[in-house]
C-alpha cells in the first residue's frame, strides 16, 4: 500500500503561513498528480520531526470542483518516525487514477510553536516572538513548484531568515520562493522574529457541564481557568500608565465569546461573585458576550470564571417515541483562536435513562470517554447518568457536534411531580395522625377532668369579672343617686343590676352542680365563694339602704359616712378573700 504512494508528485504547492494569532496556521494548497500505474487511495501529509508535538489540528478538503461540498476528508495519524516525522494519511474522496491530478487544501494549526523572545517584558513593551519553520513544503513526495507566503501581525519583523532566495518582504507579508523541484523530505529551517501583540490566551483547564432536562431546558455551564501565555510581565504594573498612555500592547482587556442564539439567563461569575464588567449583544445567529475579566491580563496572569446559560431543548433534543437523540456541540466557542489545553465535558442525562450510546463527531479522533458518573440533583432518587469525556488541545477547528442516543420511558416524566405529591400527602397524613395521638404522660381520664375543671374555673373567672363590674356599677349608681337624687332612675337601674347579679348567682350554682361530679374540692371552693358573694350582696344592700336613708334625710351625713366606711371595709375584706380563693387555683 505504501509503495503505490511513491508515485505521487506535488506539481504545485502554495503555502500560506498565518502568524497573526498566537496559533500559527498553515493553509497548504497542494496539487498533485498520480504518475504511477495503480490508482491512489491516500495522500500522506508529513510533519517535520521537530514540529511533531506542535500540531494541534490537521484538516483537508478538496479544492476546486463543486466548492459547495466542502466536507473534511477523513484523516488518520500514522506512526511517528524519529527521522521522518509524523505522517497524516488523508483519505481521498475517490481513487486517484493514473495521471490524474487533484488539489487538496490542507489546514494545519500549530500550538505552542511560538517562542517568546524575550520571555519577560515590562508593561509598555511590545511582545516579540520567534517562529521556526521549514522554508519548503515538507513532503514525502517531490515537489515541482512551491511558494510560501508568511503573514505577520504587523509589518515589524525584528529579523527573518533571508535564505533560500528569493525572499521578498512587503509590509506584513514575506514571500519565500517560488522554488522549483525540491526533493522529498527536504528541510531548510528559517526563523522569523517578529512582533505579536495579539491575545496570547490559553485555557489550561475547562469544564463543560451540560444538563439535559426533559421539561424543555438544557443548562450549559463552562468553568474556565485561563492564563496569558505571552511574555511574562516583569516589574510593576502601573494603573496610571495603563489608563493614560494606552501602551499596554500585550495585555488582554477583553475578549468575545459566542453562545447559541437561543441562549438565555446568561451568567458570568467567579468564586467571589458576579463579574459586573461584561456585556451581552444578541445577534440573529448567535449571542455575543463580551467578557472582560476583573483585571487586564498580562503575561503570566491567570483568571478563572464560570459562564453559564440555558438553551431550550427543542433545538438539540429529538425523539421518536421513547428513543431520544441529543445533538449538541461537544465544545463551544470560548474566544477566537482558542486553545483549550484540557477539556472535560460532562453530560448529565435525565433520570431513568438507559441504553445510552455516545457518538462523537467523525473527525474527533482524540477524545477519551471515561466511566460514567452519577449525579444527584433536585428530586432525584436513583441519580442521573453522567457521561464524561476529556479532550486535550481543543482548537476552534474542533467545535463539532456529538450525538447521544438513549431510551427514556415517557411515563417516568410523572415521577417527579408524583414524588412531591406523595411526600406532601405523607406529611399531612403524619400530622393528622400525630394530632390524634396523645403523648401525655398523665392519665387520660384525669386529664379530661382537669380540662373540665379548668373550663369551669375559667367560666367562674369570667362571671366573677362580670359580677365585680356590676357591683362597681351599682356603687356608681349610688354615687349618682347621692348627687342627683333621682329615685326613679335609681330604682330602675338597681333592679336591673340586681337581676343581673341574681342571674350570675344562678350561673354559679349551675357551675357548682356541674363540677360536683368531677371534683368535690372544687365544688366546696365554689360554695365558699358563693357564700362570700351572698355576704357581699347583703352588705351592698345595706349600703343601698343606708344611702337611700341619707337621700331621704333620715340619717345624718356624718353617720352615713361612718357606716359607709365600715361597710366598704367589709367589702374589701370579702374581695381579698375571694381573690385568695381564686388564686389558689
Amino acid at each position: 500500500m505504501g509503495q503505490e504512494q511513491e508515485h505521487l508528485v506535488n506539481t504545485k504547492v502554495e503555502r500560506t503561513l498565518d502568524l497573526v494569532s498566537h496559533l500559527p496556521k498553515e493553509i497548504i494548497s497542494v496539487t498533485f498528480e498520480n504518475r504511477g500505474t495503480k490508482s491512489a487511495r491516500y495522500y500522506d501529509y508529513c510533519v517535520e520531526p521537530q514540529h511533531v508535538n506542535d500540531v494541534g489540528y490537521v484538516g483537508a478538503i478538496v479544492r476546486g470542483k463543486n466548492s459547495g461540498d466542502q466536507t473534511n476528508l477523513p484523516i488518520k495519524q500514522e506512526t511517528t518516525d524519529k527521522t521522518k516525522g509524523t505522517i497524516y494519511r488523508i483519505e481521498l474522496p475517490n481513487d486517484l487514477r493514473s495521471s490524474q491530478t487533484i488539489t487538496l487544501e490542507i489546514e494545519v494549526v500549530h500550538i505552542n510553536a511560538l517562542r517568546l523572545l524575550p520571555t519577560e517584558i515590562v508593561q509598555h513593551e511590545r511582545q516579540l516572538v520567534l517562529y521556526k519553520t521549514n522554508a519548503y513544503y515538507y513532503s514525502k513526495y517531490s515537489t515541482q513548484t512551491q511558494k510560501t507566503i508568511v503573514t505577520l501581525p504587523t509589518d515589524r519583523a525584528e529579523s527573518y531568515t533571508q535564505a533560500p532566495k528569493p525572499v521578498a518582504k512587503n509590509e506584513q507579508t514575506i514571500t519565500y520562493g517560488p522554488y522549483e523541484n525540491v526533493a522529498a523530505l527536504t528541510r531548510n529551517e528559517i526563523s522569523l522574529h517578529y512582533e505579536n501583540n495579539n491575545p496570547f490566551l490559553t485555557v489550561n483547564n475547562m469544564k463543560r457541564w451540560i444538563e439535559v432536562s426533559h421539561w424543555g431546558n438544557i443548562a450549559v455551564e463552562e468553568t474556565i481557568e485561563m492564563y496569558h501565555s505571552g511574555a511574562k510581565l516583569k516589574g510593576p504594573f502601573s494603573r496610571l500608565d495603563f489608563q493614560r498612555q494606552q501602551n499596554s500592547y500585550s495585555a488582554v482587556k477583553t475578549f468575545k465569546t459566542s453562545l447559541p442564539a437561543a441562549a438565555k439567563d446568561i451568567y458570568y461569575r467567579d468564586e467571589i461573585g458576579n463579574v459586573s464588567t461584561s456585556s451581552v449583544r444578541e445577534m440573529h445567529d448567535q449571542v455575543e458576550i463580551e467578557i472582560r475579566p476583573r483585571f487586564p491580563l498580562y503575561g503570566g496572569w491567570n483568571t478563572y470564571y464560570v459562564l453559564g446559560y440555558n438553551v431550550p431543548s427543542y433545538q438539540y433534543l429529538f425523539n421518536k417515541g421513547n428513543q431520544y437523540v441529543l445533538k449538541m456541540r461537544l465544545i463551544d466557542h470560548v474566544y477566537d483562536d482558542q486553545l483549550l489545553e484540557q477539556v472535560t465535558i460532562k453530560i448529565v442525562l435525565p433520570e431513568y435513562v438507559h441504553n445510552i450510546e455516545f457518538y462523537p463527531s467523525m473527525h474527533d479522533t482524540d477524545i477519551k470517554r471515561l466511566r460514567n458518573e452519577k449525579h444527584y440533583t433536585y428530586l432525584d432518587t436513583i441519580g442521573r447518568s453522567v457521561i464524561v469525556i476529556t479532550k486535550r488541545n481543543a482548537l476552534f477547528q474542533h467545535i463539532q457536534d456529538f450525538e447521544i442516543h438513549y431510551t427514556f420511558d415517557k411515563i417516568m416524566l410523572l415521577h417527579e411531580p408524583m414524588l412531591i405529591i406523595f411526600s406532601l400527602f405523607g406529611l399531612f397524613c403524619f400530622v393528622i395522625i400525630l394530632n390524634r395521638l396523645n403523648f401525655s404522660i398523665n392519665h387520660e381520664e384525669n386529664n379530661e377532668i382537669r380540662i373540665r375543671i379548668k373550663g369551669i374555673w375559667n367560666q367562674l373567672m369570667e362571671h366573677n369579672i362580670k359580677r365585680t363590674s356590676f357591683y362597681q356599677k351599682l356603687d356608681e349608681l349610688l354615687n349618682t343617686f347621692k348627687t342627683n337624687k333621682d329615685l326613679k332612675i335609681y330604682n330602675e337601674q338597681r333592679k336591673k343590676f340586681e337581676n343581673e347579679l341574681k342571674r350570675i348567682e344562678q350561673n354559679f350554682n349551675n357551675l357548682q352542680t356541674k363540677i360536683k361530679a368531677d371534683s368535690v374540692e372544687t365544688a366546696e371552693k365554689i360554695a365558699e365563694f358563693q357564700q362570700l358573694d351572698a355576704e357581699q350582696r347583703k352588705i351592698t344592700q345595706l349600703l343601698c339602704g343606708n344611702t337611700e336613708k341619707l337621700v331621704n334625710g333620715k340619717i345624718k351625713k356624718q353617720a352615713h359616712g361612718d357606716e359607709e366606711q365600715n361597710l366598704r371595709l367589709k367589702i374589701r375584706d370579702i374581695n381579698t378573700r375571694i381573690s385568695t380563693i381564686l388564686n389558689q387555683y
Partner: protein, 781 residues
C-alpha cells in the same frame, strides 16, 4: 397549646369554638404575611447587586462555614487557620461562636440529603432574612405572653420591618447577630413561659435555647445577666414564688453546664465577673427558699420576719464578698475591657483605642434612635407606662429589659440591635391598648355587649388565671373611665383616632422600607456611583483587586494590610494576612500600624521581619471614597503609639496648627511615612478633576502636598480601576555584594544594630553555625 384552648372553649360555650378557629386562622395568616414581608424587605441588596456576602466579619463566617461543610464539624472545631495572623495563626474552633456555621451547615446538610444541590453561599446569604421571619414569630409569642395576642401581632409586624433590626439582618449580612436576635427573643419567651407555669419542661427549654444563643453570639451575656436581675427584682418586690424558684434553678444549672460546652466560652461562666450576677442570684434564691421553708414551719416564733430579713441581707453580703474576694485572688477574671467601656464610655478611648476605632462601637446619637425606630421610639415609653400601671411578674421582665437595653443602646451604636425587639414589644403594647380602646366600634353602641368586649380586649391566655385576677382590679378601673367617656367618645372621634394611627403606621412602613433600602442594603464590597445622567455605575474595585491577589500571587504570599481588610483578603483572595478583624492581638496590630506609620526604611525592616510579600492599602482619593486608609490612618498611629510610644508619636503627624492634613501644610513625617507613600504613589501625575491641578485628592478636596517621589523597597504590583485598592510588592533584598562579603557584612551589621537581630535573614544565616556545634558536642558526649 391551641388544641387545649379549643377544648376548654368547647366546655364553656359551644358557640365560641368556630369564632376561635377563625381567629387563629387569621392569626396564622397575619403571621405568615409578617414573616414574608420581613423576608422580602431584606432582599434589596440582592435585587440591586447580587447574592453576595457583605462587609467584613461575614466573610470570615462564610469562609469558616465553607470549611466546615467541606471538612466536617470536628475538623472545624480543630481548625488551625494558617491564613490569619501570620506568623501566629489562629485556632478557629476555640475562638469562634460556632452557632452560625453549624446552623447554616445543618441547613446545607439537610438540603443535600434530600438532593437539593443548593450552594452554601446561598444559604449563608439568605440565612439572616429567614431568621428575621423566625424572630418575628418569637416576638409574637413573647408579646402574647406579656400582654395579648393582638399586641403580639403588632410586635411581630414591627420587628419584621424595624430598621434597627434589619440593619444587621439584610440578605448577605451573614453575621452572628442574624441568628442571635432570634435566639435572644426566643429564650426570653421561654423564660417568661417557665416563670408563668413553673414547669421543668419550659425551663429546660429555656436552657436549651440559651445554649443555642451562647453558641451563636457573645451577646448571650445579656441574657445571663438580665434573667438573674429579673429574678432579683422579683425577690425585692416580694413576688417570690415556687414557680420562680423552679424555673430559675433549672435554667441556671442547665444553662451553665450547656454554655460551658462551647469551646470559646469554656470556663468563663464560672470564672469571669460578667457571669457572677447569675451565680450570686442562684445562691440567694436557694437561701431565700430555704428561709421561706423555715418560715412556714416556724410561724409561731416571734419576730421571725425581721430575723429572716436580716439573714437574707447577710447572705447576700456574704455572697458579694466572696465574689469580690475571688476576683482579687484571681479565681474570677475581672470585667473585660469591652465591658468596662459599656459603663464608662470614655474608658475605651483612654485605654483601648482599637475598640473605639470601630465605628459601630461609638456612642449612639439621638438621631439614630429615630432613624432606626421612627414611630416606635415615641410609643415605647407609653407601652412601658402601661406595663408599670399593670405590673405582674413577666412585665417586670420587659421593663428591666427596656431599661438595660436603652442604656446599652445609648452607649454603643451596635447595641441598638438588642433594644429594637424590646421597643417593638412595648410599642405594640401601647398601640394595641390604644386601639382596644378606640377601634372597638361595637362597645360604644351597645352597652350590653360591653362586658364581652372587655374580656376580648384582655385576651390574655385563658389558662393564665392568676394574671387574669391581677388584672381584675385594673379592668374595673377601666370600666369607670369608659363609662365616663362614653358620652363624648362618639364613633366619629374613634374613627378619626384610628385613621391617625393608621396613617402613622403607614408612614412608619414607608420609613422602614426607605431606610432599609438606602442605608442598610449596600454590601460595601461593591460600591455604587451615579453618573451625571443618573445611571448607575458599579465600582467593583475591591473584588477586582482581591481576585487579582487570588489569581496572580504565590499561594503562600503574605499580605500586609490594615486589620479591617483581613477577613476579606482571607475570604476572597485566599491569602495569608498578618492581622484581621478578630482583633485579639493588639501588639501585632500595633506592629502593622507602626510599619504603616514609619518611613520606608523602618517599615522595610518590620516587613522583612514579618515576611511580608505584598502590602494592600485602600485609597479613595480618585473617586472620592471616604472610608479609606488615609482617613483611618490616625487610628493606626494611635494604636501603634500605644505599643511603641518611643517610635511613633501622634503629634508628629499633625501640622503646626495641630491639624491632620495631606496638602502642602501637612507634616513632613506624614509625607514620608509608608502609608502616605503607598496611597499617593504616582498620584501626583493624575488629573482627577479638570478644574484642579494634578494630584487633587477628591476625598479630602485638597491637592496633595508631596508629589513625585519614588519607592525604594516596594513596587506597585496592582492598582484597581478606580485606584481604591493599591497593592505593592515588597522587593527582595538586592544582590549588592559577593556572597563571601555578604556573610561578613551581615554578621557585622548584626552585632552593630540590635534591631537587625530580629531580621529573618540574619537569623537564618546564623543558624548553620549553631547547629554544627550542637551536633558535634552531642556526638562526643
Amino acid at each position: 397549646m391551641t388544641t387545649v384552648n379549643d377544648n376548654t372553649s368547647e366546655y364553656i360555650t359551644n358557640s365560641s369554638s368556630s369564632s376561635a378557629g377563625l381567629k387563629s386562622l387569621i392569626t396564622v395568616i397575619i403571621l405568615i404575611c409578617v414573616c414574608i414581608s420581613g423576608f422580602i424587605s431584606r432582599l434589596f441588596s440582592i435585587i440591586r447587586f447580587e447574592s453576595v456576602i457583605h462587609e467584613f466579619d461575614p466573610w470570615f463566617n462564610y469562609r469558616s462555614t465553607v470549611y466546615m461543610t467541606d471538612n466536617g464539624f470536628y475538623n472545624f472545631l480543630n481548625w488551625f487557620d494558617d491564613l490569619a495572623w501570620y506568623p501566629l495563626g489562629r485556632i478557629v474552633g476555640g475562638t469562634v461562636f460556632p452557632g452560625l456555621m453549624v446552623t447554616s451547615g445543618t441547613i446545607h446538610w439537610f438540603f443535600h440529603m434530600i438532593n437539593i444541590p443548593i450552594h452554601i453561599r446561598e444559604i449563608c446569604v439568605f440565612l439572616a432574612p429567614v431568621f428575621s421571619g423566625l424572630t418575628a414569630l418569637a416576638t409574637y409569642l413573647l408579646t402574647k405572653e406579656l400582654w395579648s395576642k393582638r399586641a403580639g401581632l403588632f410586635a411581630a409586624a414591627f420587628i419584621a420591618i424595624a430598621p434597627g433590626y434589619s440593619s444587621r439582618s439584610v440578605a448577605g449580612s451573614y453575621d452572628n447577630e442574624a441568628i442571635a436576635i432570634f435566639a435572644l427573643i426566643f429564650t426570653y419567651y421561654l423564660w417568661i413561659r417557665s416563670i408563668k407555669t413553673g414547669s421543668i419542661f419550659w425551663s429546660s427549654c429555656t436552657a436549651l435555647s440559651y445554649f443555642y444563643m451562647v453558641s451563636a453570639w457573645g451577646g448571650y451575656v445579656f441574657i445571663i445577666n438580665l434573667i438573674p436581675v429579673h429574678v432579683g427584682f422579683l425577690l425585692l418586690l416580694g413576688r417570690y414564688s415556687l414557680r420562680l424558684y423552679v424555673s430559675y434553678s433549672i435554667f441556671y444549672i442547665l444553662g451553665l453546664i450547656l454554655s460551658m460546652q462551647i469551646p470559646f466560652v469554656g470556663f468563663q461562666p464560672v470564672r469571669t465577673s460578667e457571669h457572677m450576677i447569675a451565680a450570686g442570684i442562684f445562691i440567694l434564691l436557694q437561701a431565700y427558699t430555704f428561709f421561706d421553708y423555715l418560715y412556714n414551719k416556724l410561724r409561731y416564733v416571734r419576730n421571725i420576719e425581721t430575723i429572716f430579713f436580716n439573714l437574707s441581707i447577710i447572705i447576700s453580703i456574704i455572697v458579694f464578698a466572696i465574689v469580690v474576694l475571688l476576683t482579687y485572688t484571681g479565681y474570677i477574671a475581672p470585667w473585660s475591657g469591652r465591658f468596662y467601656s459599656l459603663w464608662d464610655t470614655s474608658y475605651a478611648a483612654k485605654h483601648i483605642p482599637i475598640i473605639i476605632s470601630v465605628s459601630e462601637h461609638q456612642p449612639t446619637t439621638w438621631t439614630s434612635f429615630f432613624f432606626d425606630l421612627h414611630l416606635l421610639i415615641c410609643l415605647y415609653p407609653v407601652g412601658a407606662w402601661f406595663c408599670v400601671k399593670d405590673l405582674n411578674d413577666e412585665r417586670v421582665f420587659i421593663l428591666l429589659y427596656a431599661v438595660f437595653a436603652s442604656y446599652f443602646a445609648g452607649v454603643m451604636i451596635r447595641l441598638m440591635l438588642t433594644l429594637t425587639p424590646c421597643v417593638c414589644i412595648l410599642a405594640a403594647i401601647a398601640l394595641s391598648k390604644t386601639l382596644d380602646y378606640y377601634a372597638d366600634a361595637e362597645s360604644s353602641e351597645m352597652v350590653s355587649n360591653y362586658d364581652d368586649s372587655v374580656s376580648i380586649c384582655d385576651e390574655v391566655e385563658n389558662d393564665e388565671n392568676n394574671q387574669y385576677l391581677d388584672n381584675n382590679a385594673q379592668n374595673i378601673d377601666e370600666t369607670d373611665d369608659n363609662d365616663d367617656d362614653q358620652n363624648f367618645l362618639t364613633s366619629n372621634i374613634k374613627i378619626i383616632v384610628v385613621t391617625c394611627i393608621a396613617m402613622m403606621l403607614l408612614l412608619f412602613i414607608v420609613h422602614c422600607t426607605w431606610i432599609t433600602a438606602t442605608a442598610y442594603s449596600s454590601p460595601s464590597i461593591v460600591l455604587v456611583s451615579y453618573n451625571s445622567d443618573g445611571t448607575r455605575a458599579i465600582v467593583d474595585d475591591y473584588r477586582e483587586a482581591y481576585y487579582w491577589l487570588r489569581q496572580n500571587t504565590p499561594e503562600k504570599a503574605r499580605i500586609m494590610s490594615w486589620w479591617d481588610y483581613g477577613y476579606q483578603i482571607a475570604g476572597m483572595s485566599n491569602r495569608t494576612v498578618l492581622v484581621d478583624n478578630n482583633t485579639w492581638n493588639n501588639s501585632h496590630i500595633a506592629l502593622v500600624g507602626k510599619a504603616m506609620a514609619s518611613n520606608e526604611t523602618e517599615a522595610y525592616k518590620i516587613m522583612t521581619m514579618l515576611d511580608v510579600d505584598y502590602i494592600l492599602v485602600i485609597f479613595g482619593g480618585v473617586i472620592g471614597f471616604s472610608g479609606d486608609d488615609i482617613n483611618k490612618f490616625l487610628w493606626m498611629v494611635r494604636i501603634a503609639e500605644g505599643e511603641h510610644p518611643k517610635d511613633i508619636k501622634e503629634n508628629n503627624y499633625f501640622n503646626d496648627n495641630k491639624e491632620y492634613r495631606v496638602d502642602k501644610s501637612g507634616s513632613p513625617i506624614l509625607f514620608n511615612c509608608l502609608m502616605y507613600k503607598l496611597c499617593y504613589y504616582r498620584f501626583g501625575e493624575l488629573y482627577t478633576d479638570s478644574a484642579q491641578p494634578s494630584g487633587f485628592d477628591r476625598t479630602r478636596s485638597v491637592e496633595i502636598g508631596h508629589k513625585n517621589f519614588d519607592l525604594e523597597h516596594v513596587e506597585e504590583a496592582y492598582t484597581s480601576a478606580n485606584w481604591i485598592v493599591r497593592i505593592y510588592r515588597v522587593k527582595k533584598l538586592s544582590n549588592r555584594f559577593q556572597a563571601k562579603d555578604a556573610l561578613e557584612k551581615l554578621t557585622s551589621s548584626l552585632s552593630e544594630e540590635s534591631f537587625e537581630k530580629n531580621d529573618g535573614k540574619g537569623v537564618i544565616l546564623n543558624k548553620p553555625h549553631v547547629k554544627k556545634g550542637t551536633k558535634k558536642s552531642m556526638r562526643r558526649t
